[in-house]
Amino acid sequence: MFLQHLINGLSIGSVYALITIGYNMVYGILELLNFAHGDVYALGCFVVLGLVTAGIHPIIAILGGVVSGYILNILVERFAYRSVRFSGRVTPTISAVGVAYIMRNAILKIWGPETYPMKLGFRGTQLHLGGIVVGTLQIYIFIAAISFMVIISLFLKKTKIGQGIIAISQSIPTAALLGVPVNRTISIVYGIGGALGVIGGILFCAYYDTIFVGIGFALGTLKAWMAAIIGGVGSLKGAVIGAIMLGLIESMVAGYVSTLYKDALVWLILITFILIRPQGFFPSQIAEKI
């Protein structure tokens, strides 16, 4: 039984990880809690639903969703955040909440509040190992989360744009003086954040076979935020470890204590954690202005 909960926790945690990596990248560069993160990826996931419903091959549909997440988040940064970038913390946060509402209402307008089945056709098979059941999808999700963490780390460390991103996260004026095109680079970070969000969101939908408007805020922004708090806000390693821990905590609480009070208990654990270790397990690698 414990192993089963462990595996379930690992796989849902991996979904959260993909969502949180994008969230933490965006946080790392501007120290902005992007409250629109989940709603951007929810809209991207609905684009996938729309394309699949229109008869388009799921892989192409997912690519379409990922691209729309990339573009949407770039637009959000361009029109909602850029002009308030240097206006302290409160103004951009309000702007972000506003964008979240726009996205959410766009979804409600087009698709309504219903829950739709999300048939992507890669449920895979169930492997029975001893007493436990492992879905191949669970394995893919886990591999995807780890791979994206490695790819993003390499991108930041080894590419020119990645180094520019790290420079901006330390000091925008210094990066600008060295020749980093600040606005363009920040756009790219938002784009990547949105794209990764959609990938995480799609895996979430695939895992539960459903999609509804609530996957954005409650299951996206909030989970990413919780995972980031546990792992370390702004840190990539922190995103993955925090998210996987969150998945494990949820799965253990649901398995051993109560499904009904799962969310309440998880919040209680989180709040306790914030009180004990507010900086998370891995204080940011790319945030922290000098």
């Binding site: 020119k160 180094q163 520019g164 790290i166 420079a167 330390q170 000091s171 004026p173 210094t174 990066a175 600008a176 003086l177 060295l178 020749g179 980093v180 095109p181 600040v182 690698q285 790319i286 922290e288 000098i290």
Partner: protein, 233 residues
């Protein structure tokens, strides 16, 4: 090579530079001296595009720099080594050097880094260390080398001697002189007027946002009023 005319720059309603005019001759080492708060940093930030002027012109080899972004200005060949060094503390010495070449697209960046490492063995020995752990003097050398990595035609230096011990100040000024000898046009901003004038060709004296004197460095050194106010009598 660089001509600044009637420049006015302000923070909100308060003008920090009033009607300022300065020109840099090709290959010359020009220094701008002035007390803390005179407006030296504001001038450099405006040249490199970090601040937008209220009015006036900045012309570099015939092109106006007004309205250009900092990354466009460094790409034209003007590098700004900022006050307080501003090394990227979370990146290694090597990565900082590479960042200096961000606007370059040639394949000689690695060679250039090795060239500077050979010249400054202290940096070489710490190439994979995070820059935040370097000493003040090492950070200053890194900041200067990093600015040179863009292969600039004009180098803007903002108080490179600030916070360094007298021995290191001497060393930094020697480096600046070497860069000058290699033909780079330099605008050196300093509070340490004596040292700055001793290596410069030409000097400007800035007082609360206005140029109050402009002459060859030698003449400024010999001027009674400059001696009284800036060279410790």
């Amino acid at each position: 090579m660089l001509a600044i005319d009637n420049l006015v720059v302000s923070y909100g309603k308060i003008d920090a530079l009033h009607d300022m005019s300065i020109s840099l001759e090709p290959g010359a080492l020009t220094t701008l001296i002035g007390a803390n708060g005179a407006g030296k940093t504001t001038l450099l930030k405006t040249i490199s595009g970090l601040m937008k002027p209220k009015s006036g012109t900045i012309t570099y080899e015939g092109t106006s720099l007004i309205g250009l972004e900092p990354h466009e200005i460094i790409a034209l060949g003007i590098a700004h080594c900022p006050e307080g060094r501003r090394v990227l503390a979370r990146q290694t010495v090597y990565e900082n050097m590479k960042m200096g070449a961000y606007v370059r697209n040639d394949d000689e960046v690695g060679e250039d880094i090795e060239y500077f490492f050979k010249k400054f063995p202290q940096l070489e020995g710490r190439r994979h260390h995070l820059s935040g752990f370097l000493s003040g003097g090492e950070q200053q050398m890194l900041a200067i080398c990093r600015a040179l990595m863009s292969r600039p035609k004009i180098l803007l230096l903002d108080e490179p001697s600030m916070g360094l011990s007298p021995v290191l100040v001497k060393e930094v000024f020697k480096i600046i002189k070497d860069i000058h000898d290699e033909g780079v046009t330099i605008l050196l901003v300093e509070q340490n007027a004596k040292m700055a004038l001793s290596i410069a060709d030409k000097g400007y004296v800035l007082e609360v946002g206005r140029i109050i004197a402009e002459d060859t460095a030698a003449n400024l050194m010999n001027s009674k009023s400059i001696q009284d106010s800036y060279l410790g009598g």
